[in-house]
Amino acid sequence: MKGETALQPGGIGASTPLSLLKRNAVPVLFAVLCALGVLLAEIDPLFLANEIISRLARNSFLILSLLIPVSAGLGLNFAIVIGAMAGQVAVITITHYKIRGLAGLLWAMAGSVPLAVVMGYLAGLVLNRAKGREMITSMILGFFVNGLYQLVFLFLVGTVIPMKNRSMMLPGGVGLRNTVDLYPIAQVLDKLWRINLGGVRIPMATLLLAGALCAAIHYLMRTRLGQQMRAVGQDRHIAAVAGIDVDRTRIIAMILSTVLAAWGQLIFLQNISTLNTYNSHEQVGTFAIAALLVGGATARRATIWQAMLGLLLFHTLFVVSPLAGQAIVGIPQIGEYFRVFVAYGVIGVALALHAWQSRS
């Protein structure tokens, strides 16, 4: 990774403090915002630490699933919502068959793989037909598959798909309820090994799993496949001349991303313990991408460290802003809208800067 930074325009003369600040302007700005919010709202540090640790643990897999498509030149993969939906299909299935505990979660993770692979493959095919417009296409693709998902769980379940389960279905017998209680797998991964450090509860198992994924991605990027992905990401045409099957490499990147997103959503859901059948997945892409960008990543370059830093800053802001809104103006909704504004705004600004720089 160090060799790469030298290729970046900002990487030259990176030793002076000013240029270092300039290069990391986005994370620094958000760190200042977070610090201001924490000070103004006078938040209990223990509450904040607990909140952030649990958010960090449950969101880490989802944000890491974005890294592979970025390195393969597909940009920010808004279609990870499709992976999230695959995970939800699996979790609905195991809840229906009443498979409990860690076994339930493991079955769900295994069961989501075939669906996620197929969906990732199809998404890769679609994005290969929309080169240069991958991001907008992946976003619309997410909306489209969301439509299909709703069709299945609102109308086909109970009619075409035979399913009888009073506790999960709407009173009419067609369609799933808005919320599915996931008590059989509630926090099974988090509880597996959780330590209490001065009042801060740390889900070690979940964090270790995320660490293992970081290591796996780090290793993947050094294999032949990873090198090919990076080559495709740098320049499609040169990669093709060098004998790399560009389309195939991009499809593999999409499949990996979709599978990781499915697992990420399962880890997220076991922590939350309730599935909002029709909304849980909708904001997954937006929030993961906004967090990654807050960490200083761009649509062309994203590292594991940027992902982790972004997760920390974005979720701190997420926790702090309603409380800060309450403390400063007395209206908590202002903080809530402010964080939505930040999520969308940071994506807009990052994309604009990306397009601006790649033109000049």
């Binding site: 679609v126 037909r129 929309a130 240069g132 417009r133 991001m135 907008i136 296409t137 976003m139 619309i140 693709l141 909306f143 489209f144 969301n146 439509g147 299909l148 709703q150 069709l151 609102l154 109308f155 009619t159 009419g172 067609v174 369609g175 103006v329 209206i331 909704q333 202002i334 809208y337 402010f338 939505v340 504004f341 999520a343 969308y344 705004g345 994506i347 807009g348 994309l351 604009a352 990306h354 397009a355 601006w356 790649s358 033109r359």
Partner: protein
């Protein structure tokens, strides 16, 4: 003969044929199940006039080469501010309606120009940047609605709340003024000549504008920017102008939409407004690079008719409201189709 037929199908586009067949099938199903075709048609016409101008707003940006305007909420928000000023001043009926449009025009012109300035700097990523400019301005305006200095008791929460209400009723202001203007009733069939006429008038004006010197320059800038520059056309200026016109049409469009709906929806309501408009013009036959007023009229009619009659017909048959899901699948499927066509029609 077969070849000619195939060519005709190709020109017309397979998705459009499917949607047309679907609309026709729904009409037949509807009349078979005993629903009044005249009522279905009347409702469709209202929805056609209600949404048309928002779809028309796509024409300037596609013509000038910016592409589909996913940043339509920028215009919508300007229109909402205009409508709120008119309501704050207690202007009623047509005066209220016209003044809402007049108040929103300068705002839409300024913000449209700024939006165009930004889009000129992010060439190649206009759609993605536009989407998020739209999203973030909607979120920003949510804060504005909370803090805005409106004090008309009809607009703000009566007790215990802060800022403007989520949904404002237009009954006492300019609700339905266009819908009820020149409304023709023949039996069950109601034709809102005022509403549809206003939409068609704006279509005609757009068509006339495209024939003027500026309009032709805009088309040239969109078709072939290099050639246009060689011919002495200021391409970035034309693109800014396209974004500005689109924003203005978005502002006018939401005011017409709101008067027809009878309510003004604030906060997160405008977030997804660009997508149905984009889908409608694509259903009409437009591509990322080419759009005509004809595409707008055909696309809006097909899409809105589909959505309007899908609800009563399907609820009659399967007993559930499938129209929201159908809207998601059809509109996003259509946008995907356009995005993945070789070169996007460019």
């Amino acid at each position: 003969m077969k070849q000619r037929l195939e060519k005709l199908v190709e020109r017309f586009g397979i998705p459009r044929l499917i949607i047309m067949a679907f609309v026709l099938a729904l009409f037949i199903l509807g009349s078979l199940t005993g629903l009044s075709t005249a009522q279905l048609l009347s409702a469709s016409l209202v929805r056609f006039g209600m949404n048309g101008v928002l779809v028309l707003a796509m024409v300037p940006t596609i013509t000038c080469g910016v592409g589909l305007n996913f940043g339509l909420p920028v215009g919508v928000l300007c229109g909402l501010v205009g409508a709120l000023i008119s309501m704050q001043l207690e202007l009623k009926g047509f005066v209220g309606f016209i003044s809402a449009i007049l108040f929103s025009l300068p705002l839409a012109a300024i913000f449209g120009w700024l939006y165009g300035w930004l889009l000129n700097r992010v060439r190649g990523q206009e759609m993605m940047v536009g989407t998020y400019v739209g999203f973030s301005s909607v979120a920003f305006m949510c804060i504005f609605w909370l803090l805005a200095p409106f004090d008309n008791p009809e607009l703000i929460w009566a007790i215990g709340g802060q800022g403007l209400r989520y949904t404002l009723t237009l009954d006492n202001h300019f609700g339905k003024v266009l819908n009820e203007f020149l409304l023709l009733k023949i039996g069950d069939l109601e034709i809102p000549f005022g509403l549809v006429g206003a939409f068609l008038l704006l279509c005609l004006l757009s068509q006339l504008f495209l024939r003027t010197k500026v309009g032709l320059a805009m088309q040239a800038a969109g078709d072939n920017p290099r050639f246009a520059r060689a011919a002495g056309i200021d391409v970035p200026r034309m693109r800014s102008l396209g974004a500005m016109l689109s924003t203005i049409l978005g502002a006018v469009g939401i005011i017409i939409y709101a008067q027809s709906y009878g309510f003004l929806q604030l906060y997160m309501a405008p977030l997804m407004m660009a997508f149905p408009a984009v889908a409608a013009i694509l259903i009409g036959g437009a591509s990322l690079a080419r759009a005509t007023v004809g595409h707008v009229i055909l696309g809006t009619f097909l899409f809105q008719t589909l959505l309007t009659i899908a609800l009563p017909v399907t609820s009659h048959i399967i007993g559930g409201d499938i129209s929201e899901v159908a809207r998601l699948i059809v509109s996003n499927g259509m946008i995907l189709y356009a995005l993945t066509r070789a070169g996007g029609g460019r």
